[in-house]
């Protein structure tokens, strides 16, 4: 009987106590038990079990005393609290809970727990701040300032519920020999737990075997929705890292030239919806402002090689700062002036060259 009329319940516009009670009576809800007449009473029944109460408090991010206060009408939740409650209570109570909630919250609906009221675009204030930073930040702080702003904005919007995400900038390595880009380097990133906030120390070289490499080579975004379905994506699974269950790489371009990509990873399989992909596109476009337009590469100048698995790269990257110090010492011995950025760039190029001598990644690894 409940199923037979559920369509009416879903589409019906019930907004009075009487109509809800009438409906509950009609469906014969829990005839042998006391029928709750308010959402507070229903919640009170649900949280009689202390373990359930603890779980619901945890999932709704409220104190257990708050649940008690709501039940006894000593405090009133906001509508977003009600949405979280609906997600947290056992599924068999969803329909009745939402109908009872409509008494106090007329706009509440049974699918309120699954709807996401968040924006599909970065807010205009975000654009304004990025453009302000682009226009006014002094040169020494420009790149890092842009990274900081864009990472902070994008992770807030792409992972608002802190389910676990990392966002990295992966850049083309300036070639040491010849004029073709042979690899990419993950230069900086941010994350929410289980990733750490600063990911610069996780520097990894990526090549044609990677999702990032595919995006940079193709000049369009590439998405891997689940590491458990590698057959769908064949080539792009060389560098799944710990925690990573789905990932998107979106090229960072300027005037149809490429400098690298934005690499976004989630702990949740199939996390990336069309809305997320549209947002990532916006942030990849904005990230282009962090770079000097002269540093972008024509697509024909990118010929990525295969790089060793990231676990094999660690010994080469570990003493990076010693390599930089050595570059300064070498320059000093040759009575040349060298900046920190130049010394670092040359040290990275040395490491790239050494990695390219190693056997490339294979699936057997």
């Amino acid at each position: 009987m409940l199923l037979a009329i559920s369509g009416d319940i879903v589409t019906g516009k019930l907004s009075t106590d009487a109509s809800v009670l009438c409906l509950l009576h009609d469906v014969g809800f829990m005839e042998d038990k006391y029928t709750p007449q308010t959402w507070q009473e229903l919640l009170g029944q649900i949280i009689e079990d202390p373990q359930v109460k603890q779980r619901i408090a945890r999932e709704t991010r409220v104190k257990t005393i708050t649940l008690t206060r709501w039940v006894h009408n000593l405090a009133k939740p906001r509508e977003d609290n009600m949405r979280q409650l609906l997600k947290a209570i056992p599924r068999e109570h969803h329909l009745v809970f939402s109908r009872l909630a409509m008494i106090d919250f007329p706009n509440f609906s049974h699918d309120a727990g699954s709807s996401d009221p968040r924006q599909d675009e970065p807010p205009s204030e975000f654009y304004a701040r990025v453009l302000s930073a682009y226009a006014n930040t002094p040169q020494p702080l420009h790149t890092q300032g842009m990274y900081d702003l864009l990472f902070q904005q994008s992770i807030e919007q792409l992972d608002p519920d802190r389910q676990g995400m990392s966002i990295s900038v992966v850049c083309c390595m300036h070639p040491l020999y010849g004029d073709k880009v042979r690899s990419l380097r993950e230069i900086i990133g941010t994350g929410t737990p289980p990733w750490s906030h600063d990911l610069q120390h996780k520097t990894v070289f990526l090549g044609a075997e990677s999702l990032a490499g595919a995006a940079v080579t193709k000049g369009r975004y590439v998405v891997a929705q689940s590491r458990k379905e590698p057959e769908t994506y064949s080539l792009f699974f060389a560098h799944w890292s710990e925690h990573e269950q789905s990932a998107v790489a979106y090229p960072i371009t300027c005037r149809a030239r490429v400098i690298g990509c934005l690499l976004v990873s989630s702990t949740v399989p199939h996390y990336f919806t069309d809305r997320h992909l549209a947002l990532i596109e916006r942030y990849a476009h904005l990230m282009a402002l962090a770079f000097d337009p002269r540093d972008f590469f024509a697509p024909e100048d990118i010929a990525l090689r295969w790089m060793p698995h990231y676990t094999k790269q660690e010994p080469y990257v570990r003493h990076f700062n010693r390599r930089v110090t050595q570059k300064f010492a070498d320059a000093n011995a040759e009575r040349r002036l060298i900046t920190l950025n130049e010394a670092q760039e040359r040290a990275w190029q040395d490491i790239e060259e050494e990695l390219l001598q190693l056997p490339p990644y294979t699936e057997l690894e």
Partner: protein
């Protein structure tokens, strides 16, 4: 709380030592919020009992990092942030919007002036790192204002820092120059400008204002080379040291040429494998007395 008549043209100014409208400063403060929260071990590492806390005010919230994280972690608490910068507040509101945090809100307000909230309207008032703008003579009145807007039994929680502890000369010199500039600006408690000098004062402010059950917890955040915090602090301080230069120059503690050289040396030192450094933070909290039962 206004002392405008006592010292004209001082209390009404924005006394923050960095351009608070700068987009880079905004991003830096967001990063710093996360670094501090992690370094201190959480939003409320002193295990305050939040059972009766339903409304929190964070004063000088900047772009709202602490407010947003507190609101996210406590969906049953309304968290309000105030800051003197309109741009910071607009940005903080935008962030609350994209995260869908209905219990976080922000308003423009100058903490050096009377706080624009009714008496007894919050259960907890929080400040973090306000040494960079708060004037010594304002502190006692500021604490009184915080108590005015707290409900009886409410908590006032102050966290601030002392910096400059390291084994590297340029880094230490940079911190010293800032401390001296702060001293010359009349914003330091240190009698000779050798340090900021605020930490020893915090408990005194609360006890003088009549707070009860005053508690105290110190935090040492290490960001030596090789520690997890190093990279974050490197970026934070690389921006902060550059953005502080106009303030240091204004108080004629160093020339721009000296600052430029020192800046390069400091960054190189912080990237050295020998670099060791600490920030010391102190949180002090106290309770507004409840009316005596007759």
């Amino acid at each position: 709380m206004s002392t405008t008549q006592d010292q004209p043209g001082r209390q009404n100014d924005n006394t923050y030592v960095i351009d608070s409208e700068s987009a880079v400063e905004m991003a830096r403060l967001m990063r710093q919020d996360l670094l501090l929260t992690k370094g201190m071990g959480g939003l409320f590492p002193e295990d305050l009992d939040l059972t009766d806390v339903q409304r929190i005010l964070d004063i000088a919230c900047g772009p709202g990092g602490w407010v947003l994280e507190t609101a996210f972690a406590n969906a049953d608490i309304d968290v309000v942030g105030v800051d003197i910068s309109q741009k910071m507040i607009t940005y903080a509101n935008a962030q609350a919007q994209v995260r869908g945090l209905k219990n976080a809100s922000f308003q423009v307000m100058n903490a050096l002036q009377p706080i624009q909230f009714p008496d007894e309207s919050f259960d907890l008032v929080n400040t973090r790192l306000i040494v960079a703008f708060m004037l010594p003579e304002i502190w006692p009145k500021f604490v009184q204002e915080c108590l005015r807007i707290l409900r009886p039994g409410g908590i006032l929680r102050l966290t601030d820092l002392e910096w400059g502890l390291s084994n590297m000369p340029a880094y230490e010199r940079t911190c010293d120059l800032f401390n001296m500039a702060l001293h010359k600006a009349g914003q330091s408690f240190s009698p000779n400008g050798n340090h900021m000098g605020l930490l020893p004062m915090l408990r005194r402010f609360l006890s003088d204002a009549g707070c009860e059950n005053i508690g105290r917890k110190a935090h040492a955040i290490e960001f030596s080379y090789g520690t997890e915090a190093h990279e974050g602090f490197y970026h934070d301080l690389a921006a902060a040291f550059k953005l502080l230069q106009p303030f240091i120059r204004k108080w004629e503690v160093a020339t721009q040429e000296e600052l430029d050289t020192l800046y390069r040396q400091t960054l190189a030192e912080m990237q050295s494998e020998d670099f060791c450094a600490l920030w010391i933070l102190l949180t002090v909290w106290g309770y507004k007395p409840r009316p005596t039962q007759l």
